[in-house]
Amino acid sequence: MTSRTEPLAAGGWPPPVLDPAGPFAESVTTLAWVLLLGGGAVLVIVLAMLGIALFGPPRLKTRLGGERAIWALGFAFPAVVLTGLLIWGLTLTSSLSATRVAGDAMRVKIIGEMWWWRVHYQDADGREMLRDANELHIPVGRPVLLELEAADVIHSFWVPRLGGKMDMIPGRTNRLLIQADAPGIYKGQCAEYCGGPHALMGFIVVAHSPADFARWRASRLPESAGAGRGLALFLSSGCAACHTIRGTPANGLAGPDLTHVGSRRTLGAGILPNNPGTMAGWIADSQAIKPGNRMPAYHQFSGDELRAVSDYLVTLK
């Protein structure tokens, strides 16, 4: 199992788009390399032509300075290259298109919200099995069909190492296939500007080996609501108006489901590590961390109460 804090220290090298972790991203990466290197080569050719036009020997200059050269270099050459690229691009588009793939893919519905993500795992018939937020768990080596929707404005789902992005548009369900071939944590980010703290709307995908995934699934089925002072404070302070903790009276729907919040790796939609300290900081003043998010700062807790609530929440595994 990878370290729980890894997603916040990814480092950015190699660039995730060029460092695929699954077959869907990988075929695009191949294309990206060809395009980047081929584009670079064409740029060099054009610059060489420009150089010849300016500094070259008169013989070459004359050959460059006529309509025949313009047709050859400006039309025929790109026409040949682009025909090849277009055929490749169309073939790839078709093979990656989630509208045509069904099979044994695992199905998850993800709903974009300002500025976090609802995650609803579904069984093969599309029935909802369990709810989570801001974190997607998948088994390695198996395609996952994401059904992407939006609750408010347009968002866009993007995990560069697992596949391209797909918009989440109110009134529509878009489909995207992702797959990870190695266990690990893959960082994602909302790619469509959605107002306010759009910049801080991240999330993570956690890929497990099949056995680990089964274990994770099993751990999710019993609802470990816990009890005690933390829960009492949670219920009496208005948290329950927006958040659900199944097995307790807390059933608010505006914010993320917290039934298993303690097991999440991040807080605030993929931006903070999750531990009692960051949980307390988030509850007391999330606006200092993610300005503009929909959760108000809870200044009314005493230190002791704040600790009780955050200690309680991180036990919700």
Partner: protein, 94 residues
Amino acid sequence: MRTWAILLGGLLVWAGHFFALYGIGEFAGESAASRGAVLLLTASGLAADAVLAWRLLPLSRAGEFMRWRARVALGGLALSALAIVWQALPALIG
């Protein structure tokens, strides 16, 4: 008007082809029938380009301006034919 029709002939054929294809994609969706329609439209677009080119070809016929007009038009027909073929590819490959 005639001059503009000649100058823009190929490009007008392109435009007709493209927007017909978009209309099929947007309003009829993907099916064997719409793929067939795309290919049919492509064949007629290419035929139209060929006819237009055929009518322009004796270049030396007339004065300076008309020769210029015909040569621009022929370039437009070449571009149009290539773009039309490209636009048919999604129906073959997609």
